[in-house]
Every structure is written in C-alpha cells, then in structure tokens.
Symmetry: C2
Subunit: 301 residues, 2 copies
Amino acid sequence: MGKRPDFVQLKEVGPRDGLQNEKQFITTDDKVAWIDMLSNTGVTEIEYSSFVNPKWIPALADAKEVGKRIKRNPAVVYSALVPNIRGLENALEAGIDGASVFMSASETHNVKNINKSITETYPVLKQVIDEAKKEKKKVTGYVSTVFECPYEGKITPTQVMQVCDQLITSGVNDISLGDTIGSAVPSQVELLLDEILKRFPKEKIIMHFHDTRGMAIANIMTALNYGITRFDTSIGGLGGCPYAPGAAGNVATNDVLYLLHGLGISTGIQDKKVQEASIFIQNKLGKKLPSRSLAYVEGTG
Amino acid sequence: MGKRPDFVQLKEVGPRDGLQNEKQFITTDDKVAWIDMLSNTGVTEIEYSSFVNPKWIPALADAKEVGKRIKRNPAVVYSALVPNIRGLENALEAGIDGASVFMSASETHNVKNINKSITETYPVLKQVIDEAKKEKKKVTGYVSTVFECPYEGKITPTQVMQVCDQLITSGVNDISLGDTIGSAVPSQVELLLDEILKRFPKEKIIMHFHDTRGMAIANIMTALNYGITRFDTSIGGLGGCPYAPGAAGNVATNDVLYLLHGLGISTGIQDKKVQEASIFIQNKLGKKLPSRSLAYVEGTG
C-alpha cells in the first residue's frame, strides 16, 4: 500500500465505452454538442469515439464526422479506440491525440471479441502502435477481463502480466486494466496491483472499472490506497452491460468525483459541469442514468 | 487498521428502515410473508418494524400485528425500533428479542426528528433501556448523522463520541453508527473509527451506511479494513432518501453479500434466498430496487 495521491486524472470514456453499450443511436449533432460540453468540464482526456468497423458498433458509426466537428480544447487529449491500421487511418483523418488499442487477458474473450488468439493479436496492435507513434500520437493499451472472463472465469495476475509485458514491449505509453464484466472485489484488485506494481511504475497504470455489481467505487478506493492516479470513468454511469440487460456499466464519473473530492483529492474537474453534461445525455437517451450521485443531485434539485 | 474479519454479521433492516422510507403501504399479509422469507435466508438478526407512533411512520402502523404473526426462527434475533416506554410496551406485547433506541449526533437533527434536545433525549432512552434489560432484551443504540447532518453540516468524531459514551453508560449493548444521509467517504469513516476504536471494542460497533451517493460499499470496505464485523443492510437497497426523492437509501444486503463473499468473508447468509426475498418485495412495490447486484442477477436471469 502506498500513500493516497493528491491529484487524480480521469479519462472520460462515456462517448465511447458508454455509448457503445447503449442501444439507442445518439445523433451526430447531439454527440458533438455533448462532447463539447465534456471538453469544458476540466477533464484532461476524452475518448470521443471508436474506429472499429461500424458493423460491430453501429452506435459509433459516425466516429469520423464526430472527430471532425468537435471543438478541440487545447487542454484536452482527444483519443479514440482503434482496432487495426485501417481504423488508425480513419482516426488520424478525423483527428486524434491518442489511440487506444485493445485486447483481452482471456484467450476465449479475445477470440470472441476480435476473432484472433492473443498471440495473433500482438502483431496487429504492433502495427497500429508503430504507425501512431510515427505520427507522434500517444498509445494506450486496454487489457480487458483482467479479473474475470465471462467464458473462462477467473483470470490470474500472471495472465494479465504476460499481456501487459508484451504491450509495453510493443511500445504503448500506458495500460488500462479493465474489469470488463464488473465482477471484481477489492481483494482481487489488491492481488493484481501487488504484482503489477512490482513491474511497472504506477503512472503507467490506469484502472478501468465497471459498476455491474456495485463494487466499482470500493475497487477505486482500493487502487487509490495503492497510489494509483489514473482511472477511466463514464459520465452518469452511461453504458450498460452486454451480458445483463438493465445492469450498470462503466463506473460513473459523477460518483468517482464525489469520492475523490470528498477525499480531498484534486481532479481539476467541475462537478456542476459534469452534472449538466450528464443531464444533457440522459435527456437525449430518455432514461435515468445509473449514477447514484446524479440521482441524488436531481432529487434535491 | 486491523485485519479484515473472517466472519461478518448483518442485521436486516429492510422491514423497518427500508419500508419506513417507501411511500407505498405493504399489506400486513405481505409483510409477514416477506419477513418469513427473510427469516430463512441465514441472517441472524431482523429489525422487523418500528413502534414509533404510526402518525409519524404510517408505513409501519401494523407493527404489533406483524410482530404477532411472523414465524419466529430460533436462530434469528427479532428486534424493533422503540422510541419511548410506550413504544417498548407495545413491542414487548408484539414480541421482541431486542429493542433499538435512537438519537442523533446532531443537535438540530435530533430536535427535528424527535422534538427533544440531545440532553433531553437521554432520560427517555434510559427508561427504555432499563425496562428492556429488566425483560432480558438486548438493546442497540442507533446514533444517526454521525458524519454529516442535513441541517448542521459536518459532525465531528468528538460529537459522536459524546453520544456513544452516554449511551454505553446508559446500558446499551452495542451502538450502530449511521451515515443517515449517505454522504460519507472512506476518509471520514477512517477518522471516526480511529477515535471510536480507541474507546470501544470493535464488537460493540455496528456501521449503518446509506448508499445515497454510491459510497456505501467503499465505506464498508474501509470499516472491514478496521476489523469491523457488524453492519446494518436492507434487502435490495429498499428504502429511499427522505431528502432526495429518487435517490438510493440503505446499502443493499445483496451488494454487501457480493462484497463479503467475494472477499472470502462468511456471513451464513444464502445469496439465492436473499435474491428471492428481494424479488418478492420488489414485485409488491412494483418498482426496481436500487441494488446493482440484484439488477445484474435479474438481467442474467
């Protein structure tokens, strides 16, 4: 256990990981207006869309247009999910500061998700990483199912370490460790971080929690106790769970801010602007988002 | 910080703290059927109702009939909320194993809630405690707003300690510390427990969290790290927040069990029976309960 940090950096993944898991298509105009609101919350990185084939993620089929139309705040890093070199070309045309590549720590999940074994995935990502770096873009490596896989069950820290090692060797700047199905409890976070932090400096590690069983804030608290300073969050808790309709998805930016600011940890992000952007997208979706803090603020008017 | 416990005891407060904050009246038949389900989950204590004047809590106006009709499982302690000697008489007639007296760590909240100053409250509780002990009943002292009061703002550990000292001196068996408005973050739990555990053995301390801003599981995790072994929880997260319509109330038994069992901590409680009892009361209320784990389980069907 380390000292809790004084400053934490959040990456807003609502426009990508959030919308990707919502059934409803948000119009390009609304996406652009909303991302522009997010750009003014004080957040320093926004994953604004995905350049995965629209056949797989129709909700984000307008990634290129969104990228071209959003107003770039120079204080914000705009990144996007990029599966392969073709996706990277589109992303570069649309404008990105960073590319996020992705794979799974579980062999089966990786195959189901990207139709390749883990070993077959590395060269595909390596090509993206090399090309992105040539263009002076930063690259984040997402590793999904780092605690549990919906097909294989528990994943060991050793399996995760192997993938992380390979990604770091391939040149990613940092790694985001994803509790993709939102099943971890704090003891699992401790076990993984005990291993990970032996090998990598904590600045390279981003934790990406889903709140599917309500554990995300406790898991983030645990990571903070290990000195972790970077988390992925989604505004309002936008984004469901593909394995359980009606269940919660990404941890809500709003709830994480309530935690961090309550702990006296700075983020540079303004709660009120996050609320406004949450209510905007909630109205567009026409349903309540899962964030508890948002529900409280709305209830108290 | 201590060692995390191997066994944790939950008190199911759904029939009292949960229903008390729901607008809808659940019929006596349904309450009895539901509490009988709860009696078979493996939980060792159930707060089955409140003997506060029904004028103040109409949802629990049938406390006496409920107490008389539920099937007593000898492995379960049946307790009820008792405000004064008149309430205790009714509770004794209905049958209780334990009485819960209550007051606030905040002067203003205490006055608003029970129309007496803190000092004026002690003799009223003392009378209940003495009489209950004469009848060989255990007595728990609820202290509400131990972190923050909706009227006075932050409450200091010193204020809480003063009330706890007086309650222990008055003869309560144990104390339940309530984050009544669900506003605490883990650093506040640490500050309070640092003080409380200097004075009282941890076995006498029960933590009672509300999940209003989504912090309850992280706060429970923090308390577990201090070796706390007793928590109040409400099935499905039943019970809203009187200060914010639509906001979450008591922490959900389901989510706490997911945490505890995931950590390898025993409770003696069967998840599946808790789910069944959650779905029973959810159907009676005709609305989704806030528990994330319950929503997940329902989604995966």
